[in-house]
């Protein structure tokens, strides 16, 4: 029954988090100076009638409280509203952007998780050896690099060998499936590598730290005393326990997949959610921002929820 309590608590906590985030999303963007009307009504020959028309169209002629109630009502019906800038449903805009973003970010994140965890574990296992120093130095180096700078450097280094930007080559007409796949992968390499390298450092450091802590535990000493080989100790006894903090980090990373990366998408002209958010901020496109941040909230809360449930499975102390 303790397990059921745990699940119920985590579920309620997740739902409350989402509701609070929805409300903050509504307030925070309206608190910023500037408005969509300011931008959209600045056209030659604009009149107060145009401004009034836009305000009515966007529902901004109503009080903030009324707008909030309408916003909640729309959300309740699964309607994210209509973008001020494009006049298209926010859900459609988000879907298009997220579909473009996810493969690129997923590739970079998976790269970081796999290589970061391996190098972190190796560094801890071979503590105070050249392997450890090399891993930590490399990890710190990439972790501390500004993302946009690293992206630009990779772009310059790979100029002529890999595409400079975009998601696919739009001038590759009627490609075969293989050609298309190669083209897509080529375009993903640089932005994914940029993200992967920055995240990789983080994973290495967290995995190393968790592994070191675990390797210092008494039961590891006991295993050594029993004469178990190092490889077996690490694989059977240390790794699973060291995975708890890595699991948290993985959940966070996966949660942020739908957020994309504004900096990486700007550097590589990637038409994803990061760019959509960037434009929405500049345009004060509140429905678009609310939609994007709601999606991000849901994603982060969901993956954290999954991590909580995994903890339940990974760490028997929780269920005791």
């Amino acid at each position: 029954m303790r397990g059921a309590d745990y699940v119920i608590k985590r579920t309620v906590f997740a739902l409350v988090t989402v509701f609070v985030a929805i409300t903050i999303n509504f307030i925070i963007f309206r608190a910023a100076p500037g408005s969509a009307i300011t931008n959209l009504s600045r056209v030659p020959g604009a009149t107060p009638a145009l401004r009034a028309e836009l305000q009515r169209e966007f529902g901004l002629d109503k009080s903030k409280w009324q707008q909030y109630v309408i916003y909640l009502g729309q959300l309740g019906r699964g309607n994210l509203g209509v973008s001020f800038s494009s006049q298209e449903p926010v859900a459609d805009e988000l879907k298009r952007a997220v579909v473009n973003t996810i493969p690129m970010v997923l590739l970079g994140t998976v790269f970081a998780i796999v290589f970061g965890t391996i190098t972190g574990v190796l560094a801890a296992w071979r503590r105070r050896t050249a392997v450890d120093y090399a891993s930590v130095t490399t990890a710190l180096f990439f972790y501390s690099l500004p993302t946009q700078w690293l992206g630009l450097m990779l772009l310059l280094l790979a100029a002529g060998k890999l595409p400079s930007g975009g998601r696919v080559d739009p001038f590759l007409f009627n490609p075969s499936i293989v050609q298309h796949m190669v083209d897509v992968l080529e375009h993903m390499v640089l932005p994914s590598a940029t993200l992967g390298l920055v995240l990789y450092g983080e994973y290495t450091l967290v995995a190393r730290s968790a592994m070191l802590e675990t390797l210092g535990e008494d039961y590891i000493l006991t295993a050594r005393a029993k004469g178990l080989p190092d490889r077996t100790i690490v694989r059977r006894h240390a790794l699973r326990n060291a995975m708890l903090p890595v699991t948290t980090l993985m959940a966070l990373s996966m949660g942020y997949i739908v957020a994309g990366s504004i900096l990486i998408e700007r550097v590589f002209s990637w038409p994803g959610i990061g760019q959509a958010v960037f434009s929405a901020v500049r345009d004060r496109d509140w429905p678009m921002l609310q939609g994007a941040f709601l999606l991000l909230t849901l994603s982060v809360v969901f993956f954290n929820y999954v991590a909580d449930l995994l903890y339940f499975k990974l760490d028997p102390r929780i269920s005791e």
């Binding site: 100076p33 500037g34 931008n39 600045r42």
Partner: protein
Amino acid sequence: MRRWMRIGAAVVSVVLIAAACGGEAGEEGEETGAPKIVEGGILRLGSSSTIDSLNPFKAFQQDAYNTFMYIYPFLVQYDENLDIVGDFAEDWEWSDDRRSVTFHTIEGGKWSDGQPVTAEDAAYTLNLMLKYPGPTGLMAGYAKHIVSAETPDPNTLVVGYEAPVNEAWALSQLELIPILPEQVWSQQEGDNGKGLRTFTNDAPIVSGGPFVLTEYEKRDIAQFAKNPDFYGPEPHIDGFGLKFYTNEDAMISALLNDELDAVETFLPTALEKVQADPDMVVVETEGVYFDDFIFNSNKPIHEELLDPKLREAFAHAIDLQELVDVVTLGHGQIGTTIVPPVTGEWHNPNVQAATYDVDLANQMLDDLGFEMGPDGVRIANGRPMEYEVLTPDSVSGIDREFQIIQAGLEQIGVKVTQKKLDPSAVFDVMAGPEYVYPESYDKFDLAIWDWYPLIDPDFILSVLICEQWGFWSDTGYCNKEYDQLYEDQGLAVDPEARKEIVWQMQEMIANDRPYLVLMHRNVIEAHNKQWDGFVISPQGSFNNLWKATLINVHQVG
């Protein structure tokens, strides 16, 4: 402000640093041995702008307007000398009282859905704006003074005005209105025209220009194919693709590595790299784009800033040549008036920039009684002359621009600090959330921003009228005499009389100095040597002034 503003363009002094105009070059080439025109192919064009919407009643970005120029008919367009010539209208005649103009349109053209392109489409579009001024508001300003649009026959359009109008002004406004296919848009009007703004006009778009927009991915790509039923000259190319970049370095890299054939305007910082490539042709010309230093002309926090003499002293303390040399790397010109020199006859050459003379500036401030304080900052009205300068982050090189101005003003005992915000936030500080005359424009002193004037001076002159408070006004300037002159210039039937008024307005602004026009920036673009025929203008080759570029552009063999 304004980068999303449809650029105007301009006349005369187009300076080609590397020749890129095509035109009849191919035909001549056969005799002279010059490269021949190779028909066909897809032009790959890179842009750092974007298409934000394919609906003319919603779009803001420059590439959207450029796209409309190539997929829709326009009654008139500009030629390479920036004179108005026919597009869908072969010719036109004005009534004696200048209250109506009759256009004769070209027969035989078809929309890409097979329907004929007729004057009735043009009348429908204009009447749409008269009928639904709210939903069509983003375009309706161009139909100012129009009261009717009628078609006595399918190839004749009569546009009526409420008062006699200036021909050049009226045509310059019509040049900005795309003709929409009635069979498509009449299905979208909805309740009181509200559907006109929600219609997404997705690709493939029913097009009547030289190209059909066949594919569009937001923030990514737009593909165009030749329209075989275009009413005008046939393009050499089979189509073109417009690829959008959010990083100019990436765009230049793509050009140099054969991912693109040509790029739209780019910053001078990349110029050296492009010029070093023997396969590239760089084209540069004077632009209409200018940067300006803004004085709050309504109720600045420090009221001494309203004094024209103080403003003149500030002008003498700013080294405009250094701004051009540093901010544009020499690819620009010192600014004089708000109507740029490239607009030809509209520009008043009698208005000159203030000389850079720090001693004179100091003397002027001394004469005004602003004594120097112990810390090197003058005192005005009992307060140190310390001001905040708003700077939108959308202006390229704005930090260096501010630093040069800051150093200049420091020499005359004026201390300025920078407040950098995004454009929307800057305007919010300037105009405030409620734009009520004369209560707004009271929360800032100074700013730096930029403008993209249109080819006709009407727009750039309009930004300073009282009515533009809360819209285009970034100064809070309001002068009834100026407003009257603005009304008069649009209705001055005699071209010479209109020019006189336009010149007078420039002098008025130069004297009152709501703006110090700092510098004009050049247009710089590049293409691969395998291509030719680009027709450069003060707003680049791919523009909303004419269809000439992509009709003329071709590969060379």
